[in-house]
């Protein structure tokens, strides 16, 4: 029998209620900074959720996931610069290009295992980073300003802060729902089985490579969407958005929140970015605290925040 009011469910419910009501608070007080901050958090949570599909459930430690943030963002930015501002064209293109990139990278990386996989995903992300640096027409190292956000004529106006925030939140929840459906489907079972014992899965007749590659592509496309959102949010795209430390941040969010947990990436994204925001007000050198803290969490707190919540008794 499942208990509805566990500490974990209450915490997640409270977080979702907070996220849903935040624009009301912003409108009432006229303070829009928290809304801008949380738009960013929600977008990065979407990216982390996509990574969680392959890392948390599939055991594929991709250290190059920020590349898809950049690819999605650059598709929006490049199309906007070339005069295509319709979101109906930009967003499917962002999804398609990040999907194709994920297919190419995944087909190569999934031939390897373990530490090779980590390093190779990192290397390919670095490659696409340098390609962006070399794109002189699109700003090179300095990045590309997006003068007009994606246009969805008559459907939604992305320049409205509240509308854009709710769109991001809705897409995040849709992504979490999709991951939930995928993970509990036959497809998801195969991926999780391949994480535990790939050889056995193949022995009973599953072509696990194809399943894992499909998961890799789905995750890449979801992250490409997050990249399109991020480019619209900041009105800017630069190679820095896919710097390898960003990929590290995404993994940190997942581990902090709880690997292989549906809401873990969201919890981790909120925690990490609030921690950064809070510490950066205390000291300019906040990373000197975050670094060792990260090491401490790795050594002592497996399962992340969601794991701690789940282990608490009802109440």
């Amino acid at each position: 029998m499942t208990v509805l009011f566990t500490a974990r469910n209450i915490a997640i419910g409270a977080l979702l209620a907070f996220l849903a009501l935040l624009p009301v608070y912003a409108a009432a007080t006229g303070q829009f900074f928290p809304l801008t901050l949380f738009t960013r958090i929600v977008i990065l949570a979407l990216a982390a959720t996509s990574l969680n599909l392959i890392l948390g459930y599939g055991g594929m430690v991709s250290f190059g996931h920020a590349a898809y943030l950049g690819v999605g963002g650059y598709v929006v930015g490049i199309l906007a610069k070339e005069g295509v501002t319709s979101g109906f064209a930009q967003w499917p293109a962002a999804l398609a290009v990040s999907g194709i990139f994920a297919l190419a990278v995944g087909a190569l990386c999934l031939r390897t295992r373990g530490v090779y996989f980590i390093m190779i995903t990192l290397a390919f992300a670095q490659m696409i980073y340098y390609v962006a640096v070399g794109l002189d027409r699109y700003g090179g190292d300095d990045g590309l300003t997006i003068y007009r956000r994606s246009q969805f004529a008559g459907v939604i106006d992305l320049s409205g802060k509240v509308q854009f925030y709710y769109l991001c939140l809705a897409l995040l929840l849709a992504a979490i729902w999709l991951v939930w459906r995928l993970v509990n489907s036959r497809f998801g079972m195969v991926i999780q089985g391949a994480r535990s014992n790939d050889r056995r899965m193949r022995a009973i007749g599953f072509p696990t490579f194809r399943y894992r590659l499909a998961g890799f592509v789905v995750a890449g496309m979801m992250c490409g969407l997050a990249g399109a959102l991020l480019a619209n949010h900041t009105d800017f795209i630069s190679p820095a958005s896919m710097h390898w430390t960003r990929s590290g941040d995404l993994i940190v969010m997942i581990v902090l929140g709880g690997m292989g947990s549906l809401f873990g990436p969201l919890i981790g994204a909120v925690t990490l970015l609030m921690l950064e925001e809070g510490l950066s007000r205390v000291t300019e050198y906040w990373q000197i605290i975050v670094g060792p803290l990260l090491l401490f969490i790795v050594v002592h707190a497996h399962g992340g925040i969601d794991g701690i919540l789940a282990s608490l008794r009802r109440g």
Binding site: A123, V290, V299
Partner: protein
């Protein structure tokens, strides 16, 4: 025609020098992975520390060589301290934990350097006897310092080879790489061995960093981009193999340097100058990754895989 040949020779020398530098970094990485089965992303931090230490000690002592020696000793000590305090807790954990823990170390070291030395970079001026160039052909000059780098790195590579293959400690290191429990059971202090290996790896990275400091300046985060290239090197060479790292490092150094120099020319033969100058910079930085992809397709375990891993 003569100009092209000279350019090619110069670029090959530059490539060799870059490759040897990569080897100094990759050797430590691959040793630590081969023996402790640990992925150390913070290896680039020792590269950065080596550069900063040298840029601090050289003016203090008034001698470039003495400053470099002190910087090497300092990175060795820092490396061993990091192993004792932090890395030791990560042995036996999965690779994700290594990646995250050492990612935390990178953040820490970058911020520490900013706190101690400030956000601006530091210069390490060359002494006059290293700052000149010599004539390698008639009317062709090449910097003495770059030749010195090649010589030093080759000597270090040779010493490393002799240390691993011909000494007792080297024998223990090789034994530890193939069966650490057995080495421990035979009464060898394996913990001490690990600390030593990690420290030497750090010092090699520090050497690469201080060598590079006079050419580029010492900067925060300078170790990170080159670390990823060093990762490409050990993937191509086969993780855990020093011989593989050496050959792959020189290969990658040559391909990268020569590619950057000649790819734009090559492109101009096939397409319009405008298209070539737009594409060439982006594509020439892709070269080594394409090389890696090709190696992976042909030999997923690298060119010189280590048995039993």
């Amino acid at each position: 025609m003569r100009d092209e040949v000279i350019l090619l020779v110069e670029q090959c020398l530059n490539g060799l020098q870059f490759g040897l530098l990569l080897f100094l970094l990759a050797a430590g990485l691959t040793l630590v992975f081969g023996i402790m089965n640990l992925v150390n992303l913070a290896h680039g931090s020792f590269y950065m520390l080596g550069a900063y230490f040298a840029a601090t000690f050289a003016p203090l002592t008034g001698s470039f060589v003495l400053g470099a020696a002190l910087a090497l000793a300092a990175t060795l000590v820092v490396g061993m301290a990091v192993e004792l305090i932090a890395i030791r807790k990560l042995y036996g954990r999965d690779h994700l934990d290594h990646v995250l823990g050492t990612f935390g170390l990178i953040l820490f070291f970058n911020e520490l350097v900013r706190l101690v030395w400030g956000p601006g970079g530091m210069n390490l001026p060359l002494p006059p006897y290293l700052g000149t160039s010599i004539e390698i052909f008639t009317d062709v000059h090449y910097p003495v310092y770059r030749i010195a780098i090649i010589a030093v790195a080759l000597v270090v590579a040779l010493l490393l080879y002799l240390a691993v293959m011909r000494t007792r400690v080297g024998m223990l290191i090789r034994a530890g790489a193939s069966n650490r429990e057995m080495v421990g059971a035979l009464g060898i202090n394996i913990q001490l061995l690990y600390t030593l290996v990690f420290g030497v790896g750090a010092a090699l990275a520090g050497l690469a960093g201080l060598i590079q400091a006079p050419i580029l300046t010492a900067q925060i985060g300078m170790g990170e981009n080159i670390l990823i290239v060093a990762l490409v090197v050990i993937i191509i060479g086969g993780i855990g193999s020093i011989r593989g790292a050496f050959i792959a490092a020189i290969f990658v150094g040559l391909v990268d340097t020569v590619g950057r120099a000649f790819l734009p020319e090559l492109f101009r033969l096939a397409m319009t100058p405008a298209a070539a100058s737009a594409l060439a910079p982006a594509l020439s930085s892709m070269l080594i990754y394409v090389l890696m992809a090709v190696v992976l397709v042909l030999r997923p375990q690298g060119l010189f895989p280590v048995d039993g891993k």
